[in-house]
Symmetry: C2
């Protein structure tokens, strides 16, 4: 039985879709109300929202590891993570304050409508399958390793992030705003049906997912500065295969840098603004059936 669901916006203060959806629902909660469970909404990083920046001092969405929560430093986001953990979790407890966390993000990459899932819980993957049935264009990225246990939605055992793009930071796009809204309503409908013990044939089908393999950084010079661009033939081609010899980057003097591995993988989060400082230009994933 799902009793309480949290919809989180503004984990990154410059990803406005989640910010304005949450503000909308806080003004008028009627559309997120369902009869057999409670839904709460919150802005995770209000200070960053006000500044329209990803974060103030550190990335809030990398601040929820058990270690970070138990020994928080003095940064704004570290303290905010402790507050959110108390409100929604606490993490690792047998019983948490909410059963599911939906975290609303956007990306500058051409990710379309997608989910980033680190949770391995049965409830989470049932929900994923339900949404894939409702939104055939939805892509699913299973993110493992690389700080998966530090995300907002890792506070509780069930949850994931919606990532939609391409949207520049600090911008609202009508098309992706309403698609995110629709997907959220589908998720709430799923919990309602589940609680009502309705038959959910949507959750029985197989789905294709993209399973995280590794990160690829930009070419860099001896000072660690970016020394090239995502190749124009690769730009915007998220969820497409990368084969040996395919161009990945071009240097500022137009020399091509190609993919040299034998294994065919799929490129995701290509040229996401926030990942320049994190040191990756795209992620590579394996396509598989679940």
């Amino acid at each position: 039985m799902v009793k309480k669901v949290a919809i989180v916006g503004g984990t990154h203060g410059n990803e406005l879709t989640g910010v304005y959806l949450v503000k909308k629902w806080q003004k008028d909660p009627s559309q997120i109300k369902r009869s057999n469970f409670e839904t709460i909404t919150l802005l995770a990083n209000p200070k960053a929202v006000k500044l329209c920046r990803r974060y103030v001092e550190k990335d809030l969405n990398r601040s929820f590891s058990i270690q970070a929560l138990s020994k928080p430093d003095n940064k704004y986001e570290s303290k905010r993570a402790v507050e959110l953990n108390a409100k929604l979790g606490p993490k690792g407890a047998k019983s948490t304050n909410v059963d599911f966390i939906l975290d609303l993000h956007t990306t500058t990459a051409n990710m379309g409508l997608s989910l980033v899932v680190s949770s391995q819980s049965e409830l989470t993957w049932k929900a994923v399958k339900y949404l894939c049935a409702k939104e055939p264009s939805l892509k699913v990225y299973r993110w493992r390793g690389d700080e998966e246990d530090s995300f907002v939605d890792s506070i509780v055992p069930n949850g994931f992030a919606i990532e939609v793009g391409p949207i520049p930071q600090g911008v609202l796009r009508s098309d992706l705003f309403f698609k995110t809204q629709t997907l959220t309503y589908h998720l709430l409908d799923f919990f309602q049906k589940l609680n009502d013990k309705k038959e959910l044939s949507e959750c029985e089908r197989k789905i294709e997912i993209y399973d995280h393999v590794k990160l690829i950084d930009y070419p860099r010079d001896e000072n660690g500065e970016i020394a090239g661009l995502v190749h124009h033939e690769r730009q915007d081609r998220d969820f497409e295969p990368v084969k040996k010899g395919d161009p990945l980057f071009e240097t500022f003097d137009k020399r091509t840098i190609s993919y040299e591995d034998d294994e065919e993988l799929y490129a995701l989060f290509i040229n996401e603004a926030a990942y320049y400082e994190k040191g990756f230009a795209m992620t590579l994933a394996k396509k598989m059936t679940l």
Copy 2:
């Protein structure tokens, strides 16, 4: 005779195309070298570049009015404006340190390859015409009123900004990076030919320009908060006409707000991230032949 040209990048620290072009040319100036004049390059707002933000305390590209320069406040950008004015100008002097300023910008709007021109000088408009001949896709926006005298390129009588988009803030796109580079090289070639007194038939032709008329703000609520989105039928349609009855915005509950004026105008800078805080969602311009 053009003796000295300044190419400026990083006036806005999160518009990376200009930042990385300037860095590239500072490492290897061979491609911007011409035989009969000098070209200098500079990063206008290095502190903002380092933070990958538009500005630190205030918009540098609104800091060059005579008034602001003569009575600068204590903000970082105000002091930086005084330094740049001394280096490139000074503004209003009979003889300035450089003859022409090219300022490199990007926009999240679908502006393609465009020029924003406030200068009325003959040299400036000759250069505009030359570039239009070399790059037929180039659009020209004549920006008047609304702080035109506060731009970096207003320090000297001749100059303009290149605006290319759509590019998210904090992102480099290969296609628009190299288009900006090519346009810059054409401009330098123009000065070279002009100094050589070559015949410039390119500057004799008529061009179409978009002449600034007014700014249109987002719908806002009683607290000044954004209460709607650029309509999905308007998004990305920069340089297209807006007629009476055309949808401009949709509210968060999907009510359409239409354009109600009789005068047919053209929409530009639609949904530019940096203009949310300035209070406009797009600008409207008249199309005319020069």
